[in-house]
Symmetry: C2
């Protein structure tokens, strides 16, 4: 387990992301080329594409996409998906460096700025959320309480509702916890399960 190959990959991943964000912060997303990022991270451009697929992928780099179906299923309670989302957000938020705004620090929130400031990155985030919706929708439908169509609708409402809350958090400057925004923003959706 965890051979040298995987080590190298993980190290390269972090190096690319860090150096890329340094360059983006310095000169702007559009003004930095993949070649420059690769050079700064001391890897080949091929590796950047092999690891992240696209330039936007460097910023988005979703761990949710690579989550196993089992892990996902264990995290999501179909009877209370909003609550599950809240738990996940709180867990993720408290782990690294709490209290950091989106503009500052080197935590996982540094990249969030580009979610909303760079149109192409925003688009990539939307694509990721769309994929997330596709993954959780069958889990919601599995209960049999709702139809497949309703499961799809609700799955998207959850994924993009989270995105909406995140944007509100970002626009406010990122002082209060994200979970607060998620909880408040998604409160109306909870009426769905209160019957």
């Amino acid at each position: 387990m965890s051979g040298l190959r995987e080590r190298w990959r993980l190290k390269a991943m972090r190096a690319i992301q860090e150096r890329a964000l340094d360059l983006f912060d310095e000169r702007g997303f559009g003004a930095v080329t993949i070649e420059e990022i690769a050079a700064a991270a001391e890897v080949s451009p091929s590796s950047v594409y092999r690891i992240f697929g696209t330039k936007e992928g460097i910023v988005v780099a979703d761990e949710f996409d690579h989550m196993s179906p089992e892990t996902l299923e264990s995290l999501l309670d179909p009877a209370d998906p909003v609550g599950s989302l809240l738990r996940a957000v709180r867990a993720y938020e408290s782990s690294p460096g709490p209290g950091e705004g989106p503009q500052t620090g080197r935590g996982p929130w540094r990249r969030v700025r580009y979610f909303f400031a760079e149109p192409s990155v925003r688009m990539a985030v939307c694509a990721t959320l769309d994929r997330a919706g596709q993954r959780i929708s069958p889990l919601l439908a599995a209960t049999g309480k709702i139809s497949e169509t309703q499961a799809r609708v609700i799955a998207n409402a959850l994924a993009f509702g989270y995105f909406a809350a995140l944007e509100q958090w970002y626009l406010a400057g990122g002082d209060r916890p994200i979970a607060d925004y998620v909880e408040e923003g998604m409160r109306p959706l909870r009426t769905i399960w209160s019957t």
Copy 2:
């Protein structure tokens, strides 16, 4: 009003879309270049970009994006957004050629296939829905009944909920009306306003 310039633009728009879809159907989205489309539509590649912005834009070509804020406001009832959406869907659906599946015909549904079959087009559609959400969210918040965050969440739930219903319609083969899927899929969301 409606000078020759605008005429030309509209004519070119339709020509580009039609010829592009012909080529896409024939050889696949990825295998057709902008140059070929421009040649087939007898315009310059520059014009394609001036009119549609991107290759995906040829397929997505959203009239919603170009809708004036006034028109939008007149269409959306903040007290019953799901009902407003349903009315809009039904109106749009009944106008051109009803009863056409997504795979057939030359109506506005021909392009929908690419929304779900071509990843990059799907991404562009998501971006459009995201913009739609941003446009309707202030209208929902204007009532004062809900917070800004909740307005954003609900706006996204509407936009991407519609998308979910549309996908379900597409996957089913497009026989029943889209409005049926929207109505059924979004029924849970209506509990929000039933208090």
